[in-house]
Symmetry: C2
Subunit: 302 residues, 2 copies
Amino acid sequence: MVQRLKDLGEFEFIRRIARTVSKREGTLLGIGDDAAVLRSSTKDDLLFTTDMLIEGVHFTRQMDPQDIGHKAIACSISDVAAMGGRPTFAVVSIGVSAKLNMQYVQRLYDGMNRIARRFRVGIVGGDTVRSSQIVINVALLGTVKRGQVIKRSGAKAGEHIFLTGAIGGSFQSGWHLTFTPRLKEAQYLVRKFHPTAMIDISDGLAADLGHILEQSHVGAVIDAKSIPRLPKVSLQAALDEGEDFELIFTLSPQSSKRLLSFRPSPYRFYKIGEITPSCEGFQLVDERGKKQRIEPQGYRHF
Amino acid sequence: MVQRLKDLGEFEFIRRIARTVSKREGTLLGIGDDAAVLRSSTKDDLLFTTDMLIEGVHFTRQMDPQDIGHKAIACSISDVAAMGGRPTFAVVSIGVSAKLNMQYVQRLYDGMNRIARRFRVGIVGGDTVRSSQIVINVALLGTVKRGQVIKRSGAKAGEHIFLTGAIGGSFQSGWHLTFTPRLKEAQYLVRKFHPTAMIDISDGLAADLGHILEQSHVGAVIDAKSIPRLPKVSLQAALDEGEDFELIFTLSPQSSKRLLSFRPSPYRFYKIGEITPSCEGFQLVDERGKKQRIEPQGYRHF
């Protein structure tokens, strides 16, 4: 029987690839988190992540190329932020048609350069190839102090679950193209409150919190009324749509209390629930106060 | 006037991008060589490179996916080798149709993993996206001892020009898919003979030696009779076709003499010419002993 990628699903596909992949010593964390963590022979570890954007899937020709360039870099910065690190250097591959005008490509790079400068990322190399669809791939390096990396796997029962901002409606509002990666917020949290797990929302709150639960071997209960949502966004949309690029993180009860009472706080954080033992699964207290099980759907790439 | 990429050409395009790109301290070498060189706070520097392969441009659905996977990783290893470094970690982005069967993708990864293991590269992350054309992007890290990096810009008049192997016919023979990156040869040269400049042949001998000449501000004269060619390959094809993935390197006359007389030598190297002052341009002594000027064409991506 021929198995198609669609039937397998993205996450099972990644699991299969991860099992058979070439390994090397010095890999502190390989496939399966927001970025790989690599030992470099210094007091910092290296972070390494990559994101690909494809015309017709992630963006259209009608969108402003400056926004597309912005997103290409911002996605990867968001990954590095979610590991508790800082971005450093990027290489950019771009596939474009020879008939494309230079102005379009220049605007694409303008968008990349603007956000790269804002977050002190150097664009140090790349590849330029011919392609009928526009394709952009960014690979980004970052650094994280040894021992300070925040994985998806560190959440423990009894801890509190937080968001860095309101979610939902990212596609309608254009936020999915123009978002600000939550690097400052992540660095603030790392310095003062020691998050135990962190992830950025690309696949959707339910799916991405689901990744933390799966990798931490825990359950969770989240409270619908406490999830900050953009106006006119349904609960279901907030849970499932994705590309919010806010961070989900977990804190010990003590750190949670400190975070919520810290004055003056430069950022707002939203407590949306608690981590539970694994056997309790992933539950939502809905707007009428009734508990229901969540089956993460999220964004399916296939 | 709208300027199209085709009219601008790949190299001018890259020059324009390189001028405006976001910079960061710690960049020892940015856009314009086989890989970027980055200061990491150890005794080694980091190398960082990326390569994108696109269905219909670099490969077709009829080719063995294992070979395509091989090539995707091998191109980047070749870049790291040409800088005098060793490859370490890779991240792989892949764009595929949901209708593609898993066996195809598994074979693609088999090809990547096999060569990655052979050259001790860990595949530590990636991105999986939907795409109608198959797209593969590899970003590769490497290390190079501080001060031992070999740039395109180091060749000096009076030095000798070498190749690591015979060239031409790469597309007909399938070598462009199944080639062995010349990492061992490069490491041997770095340890014993201190090449002053090095590049791998992707665009063609004329174009890639042209890159060395341009960046070193020198000229060259190469001897048609001394260029090792595969059987039935014309001189013009050997000069222009590309994707040979042999290394072009330059040595001082003393090192050149040592290399050519070194016994036993584990590898064969071919002296094909000499570096001249810039004013003499890029010349070829043809098979009848007549000097002619070379205008590098090479592979044009646009």
